[in-house]
Every structure is written in structure tokens, then in C-alpha cells.
Symmetry: C2
Subunit: 334 residues, 2 copies
């Protein structure tokens, strides 16, 4: 949306339940009354219900359930994250769009939001199921001062921010856990996927793109069969409809705080928060490394650099910096 309809919307929002005359709005924004009318029509075309007619007063009745920039930014309390939002009704992958923006020089904190993804991407080349108009799919361009070696901890920072936002929505942190490195679980079921992609010189990160998908209002019964027993949504977990724009604002605020701390002091800064949501200690797991080799062991903790620590059945200590972790039914491993 061009700037002016957003300004008309803002003027109507500020009036609350009261009507504002077209003359008023026209005077405040410095545009003609005919233009105010045009902008009101543009807002209506996007799903805003606005009472009133040209010459009379206008009143905002209802905003559509869309993650438009003006919805997300309405009350957004961040300094740099989401100050620019690119909204797409549908795209292949918000990470793909954000990577293109990053390569073209997009600013730190630029966000992409799509109502649906046709080819949502997950870690390790997997796909991310992305039904339209019910969840959050967002990707953020970051330009941190970060060495390539530290990049893996960015995904842990993102997982922490998502977990904290989900806990806030649930009002019950005990139900929320992080499965290393990046899955956020509610009652043991996956609610969120995170994918960090980056462009770098060998030793220096040029940009990061942080992709986050959160199951908000999707009906878990609609999941593909192979995920159904292992995934849920916040609506299913709370029994109420989630305000998607409000959740997005909360997530952006938490993310900005966590990422600022991470930029200042690295993984150390977020480690206590991460440990508090990390419930894998003692759990039997199977790790498949990048080369395809498997290690069975029991989780003994998180290392200072964010690596997962395992103890194998024969007492060896293994560090996992990258790879895929499967929870074993207890007794299967270690």
C-alpha cells in the first residue's frame, strides 16, 4: 500500500469509536478530500470495514485478518526490526524473497511477511507446510557484525525468541520447550520452524536471513498425515483464536531484544534463557551428522558455543555443531 492510505488508516484508528470528518482528515494529512475518499476506498478494497461516505464522517469498524505492514506496525515497539515490512499475499518462500532483498542491500531489520508459502523451506533442505491466511511466515534481514564461526548460534537466539513469544501467548512457560537447535515445542509438539540462511565471506557474515514460521490458527487436523501427531498450533493449544498481528508484534519485540543481546555478548548473553527452555538433558537421541553418520547418545547439555553435548553408551563425550537430532523413545539409545 502506498503511504497515504496507511496515514488515513492511522488517522481513523486514532479517532477510536468516534467518526472523523473527511475535512478533518484532509486538513491533517494535507491532501484533498477527494484523495481521502480514494484512500478510504483503497482501504476498503483491502478488507477494512469503514463506515461513512464522501462529504460525511468516516469511522473504522473493523480491520481484516491480514498481516499488512500497517497492522503489524500499529503499536510495534521496536527500534529497527520490522520498521520496513514487505507484505505478500502468497510467495514461494519468504526466505527466498528476503535473501534477494539482502543481496540488493536491504537494511538491517527489513521484514518479509507472506499470508501463505507455496514452497516454504525448512532446515536441511526440508519443506515447511505453509497453509494460507492462518499462520505467521516471516523472514528478517539481519546485518550483524558476526564471524562465520559464530553464525550457528543465531539460530539458537531465534529459537529462544520464538519460544518466549509462544510462552507469552500461552501464559504458561512450562508447556514450551526448545528442541535443539531450532524447534519450538508446545506440550512436546512442534509449533514453529526456523531457518537461518546467510551470505558470507569465509570468515565474516555479510547478511543473515532469519526465517520463522509459527502455527497460529491452523487446524492441526489439516496437517499432512506424517506431521499430524507431532505438530500443533497455538489456537489448538489455547482453545482460542490468536491475534496474528499482535503475536507478530510481540515476536518482533522479543526478537529485537534477544538479537541485540546476542550481537553484544554472543551466545553467553542468551544462554541462561536458552537453558531455561532446553528440556533435553538426559534424553536419549540419535544425531545424524552432515555426512550422514549417526551417533546415539544421551544429551548432557549445551556447550559454551551452543553445540549440543552428548554422552555415548561407551562413555565418550560428543559435540554436535550441526546435524539432525531425533528423540529416541527412552531405552532406544545411549
Amino acid at each position: 500500500m502506498s503511504d497515504s492510505p496507511a496515514r488515513v488508516l492511522d488517522a481513523l484508528r486514532r479517532a477510536g469509536d468516534a467518526s472523523r470528518s473527511g475535512q478533518d482528515v484532509s486538513g491533517q494529512l494535507g491532501v484533498s478530500r477527494a484523495q481521502v475518499w480514494k484512500h478510504v476506498e483503497a482501504l476498503r478494497a483491502r478488507g477494512y470495514r469503514i463506515a461513512g461516505a464522501p462529504g460525511g464522517g468516516y469511522r473504522l469498524l473493523d480491520a481484516p485478518d491480514r498481516l499488512y505492514p500497517e497492522e503489524i506496525q500499529n503499536g510495534l515497539a521496536t527500534r529497527w526490526l520490522g520498521r520496513i515490512v514487505h507484505w505478500l499475499e502468497e510467495t514461494d518462500s519468504t526466505n527466498r524473497v528476503a535473501l534477494d532483498l539482502a543481496r540488493s542491500g536491504a537494511a538491517h531489520g527489513t521484514a518479509v511477511v507472506a499470508e501463505g508459502q507455496t514452497a516454504g523451506r525448512g532446515r536441511l533442505g526440508r519443506s515447511f507446510h505453509s497453509p494460507p491466511f492462518c499462520n505467521l511466515y516471516t523472514s528478517i534481514v539481519l546485518r550483524p557484525t558476526l564471524s562465520t564461526a559464530e553464525a550457528p548460534t543465531a539460530i539458537l537466539a531465534a529459537a529462544l525468541a520464538v519460544a518466549d513469544s509462544v510462552a507469552g501467548e500461552l501464559g504458561d512457560g512450562e508447556r514450551v520447550a526448545i528442541k535443539w537447535p531450532n524447534d519450538v515445542l508446545v506440550d512436546g509438539r512442534k509449533t514453529s520452524g526456523i531457518l537461518v540462511e546467510l551470505g558470507a565471506e569465509a570468515t565474516r557474515v555479510a547478511f543473515l536471513v532469519l526465517g520463522i514460521g509459527v502455527n497460529l490458527n491452523v487446524d492441526p487436523a489439516s496437517f499432512p498425515e506424517e506431521f499430524r501427531s507431532r505438530a500443533t498450533s497455538l489456537a489448538a493449544a489455547t482453545g482460542r483464536t490468536i491475534d496474528r498481528a499482535a503475536f507478530t508484534r510481540s515476536l518482533y519485540g522479543t526478537l529485537e531484544r534477544v538479537l541485540d543481546a546476542h550481537a553484544r555478548d554472543g551466545f553467553d548473553a542468551i544462554r541462561p534463557g536458552f537453558e531455561a527452555r532446553f528440556r533435553m538433558r538426559g534424553q536419549a537421541v540419535r544425531v545424524t551428522d552432515l555426512g550422514g553418520a549417526e551417533i546415539d547418545g544421551r544429551v548432557s547439555g549445551i556447550d559454551a558455543d551452543g553445540a549440543l553435548l552428548l554422552e555415548t553408551a561407551d562413555g565418550r563425550r560428543e559435540r554436535v555443531v550441526a546435524g539432525d537430532v531425533t528423540l529416541a523413545k527412552d531405552g532406544d539409545a545411549a
Copy 2:
């Protein structure tokens, strides 16, 4: 060049100093004699001197000083590196081209070669001076199984391969040194620039692009004044013209060997070779880290993960994983 002129060229090369009749070549390649003539004309247009006329015999007199794929691949003894070469007379940056190819799915080992670069890139956002038709500017697409944390060692592997190839051309390894992480020096002067860029998930490298520029036949007197005292070319160092295609073949062969070893066993595999060319031990240096902070110290070695080890004047041990290293005149630092 389309495939067929390259096959005609190959047939003429195999004949050595002998003439081959158009009928012979036509029969061997399964194309008409008129087409053979057309391909000979195409080769001549690219600078190949070929004696002969339609109806008579053809003989290759001379190949142009160009890094055409058919020049580089003529005798190339690699399995995967440079089996596909994209040649460009001029481009902004071979790394930019190779990054685009990598994103479009180009195979492991795909090479880009340009005769000149208008915006050659160096490390840390610097430019790389790239005059046309005299040097080597090449970028290779790699798809290694590599964690992001290990990516910094790829630049050390590349530096080692370039140093070994330069030493081979000079016939005197004592004159060749590596300035950590990526400069190859001859008699203390820079002859090569290396830039590794990559696309990755947080923990897993998706692709690497290895950009290498080597000063082969450029006249050091033509360098911009600020480099003149610190840079040289292999021609200046040897007093003879370097066969650019032969050097490129040798470099590709050495690179493939070093990269295969690196893929198998990580930095460990190349560490002895790297240490042999690493002459910085005891040297006073100033390191500027990614955040702009400076550390003065004396180089004490290379760590197991390829990091530079420093000892500061007050006896602290510092590890440098990323940053810019300036050699201090002895006495300036540490």
C-alpha cells in the same frame, strides 16, 4: 563456443604439426565438410591461427593467449574441478557470476574465468585490481559437506593451493609465503588475492564460491601507486612470460587435490602444507577485528582450527578467527 568448433580444434591439436584434410575431420566428427569450414572460421574469429582452405588440409599454427575453456581443458588432469568452464571476456566480478550460478544449481567444480574484471572484489569489501588479458581471474563453485563453523578453513586451503602452484611456476618454494589467512606473497610481495563467499543455513554450508586472482603477466609498474611497492607478478618474479592456460591447469589440479583432502579430513589434512608456507611466526602484527578493535601482538602460530595465534606484550594469548592483519615493522608491536 559451441561444442563443435572445440571438437575441430581438438582434432587439429591431435594432428600436431601435420595437416589434416577437411574430409578426415568431417568423417571423424560426423559433420559435413562445409560445417568443418564454418567451425575453422569460428576458431579463426576467436584468434586461432589455422593454415588451410576449404577442400584442402588444415593445420593449427597458433592458439591465442586467451583462457578459453578449450585452452584450459586441453590436458587438464582433474576429475571435477573445471570440467565446466564459463569464459567471459569481461565481467564485473567472477565471484558475482559464480554466486549466481551456484544459486541456480551449478555443479560442484563449475569454474568461471574472465579476462578482466571491472569490479573485482577482495576480502572485507575491498576491490581487487584486475587489468585485462594478462592475469588469471577465476571463481569456482563448490558444494562441500561442511559445517558453517568449518567454512573459514576453506580460505586457508585455497591459499595453500595457490601458494603451491606459484612455487611450482617459480621452481623455488623458498620465495613463496602465505600471509594469514589468504595472501600469497613472492619475495614478500602480494601476487594473489583470494575471496571465499558462501551461502549457508545457520549450521550447514550450501555452497562456497572460491575466487582467485593471480598476477601473472601484469607489469607491476602499471599497478595503482598505493600497491606498487607491495605487489608483484609471476612474470616480474621470474623474468619470463607465464603461460596463463598452463598455470590455470596446474592451479586447478593442485586445488582439486587440496580441496579433496580438506573435504576428507578438514584443516588437519592441509595443516602441514600450510605450516610449511606460513612464515609469520615471531612477526609483530596488528589485527583489526570485525568490530574494528585492534590487537597488537607477535604471531605464535596457527591453532588446530586454523585461527591465528598471537601473544600480546603483556603475555596474553589471543586467537584471531576473522579480521585484518597488518605486518608491523619490527619493534612497532608486541
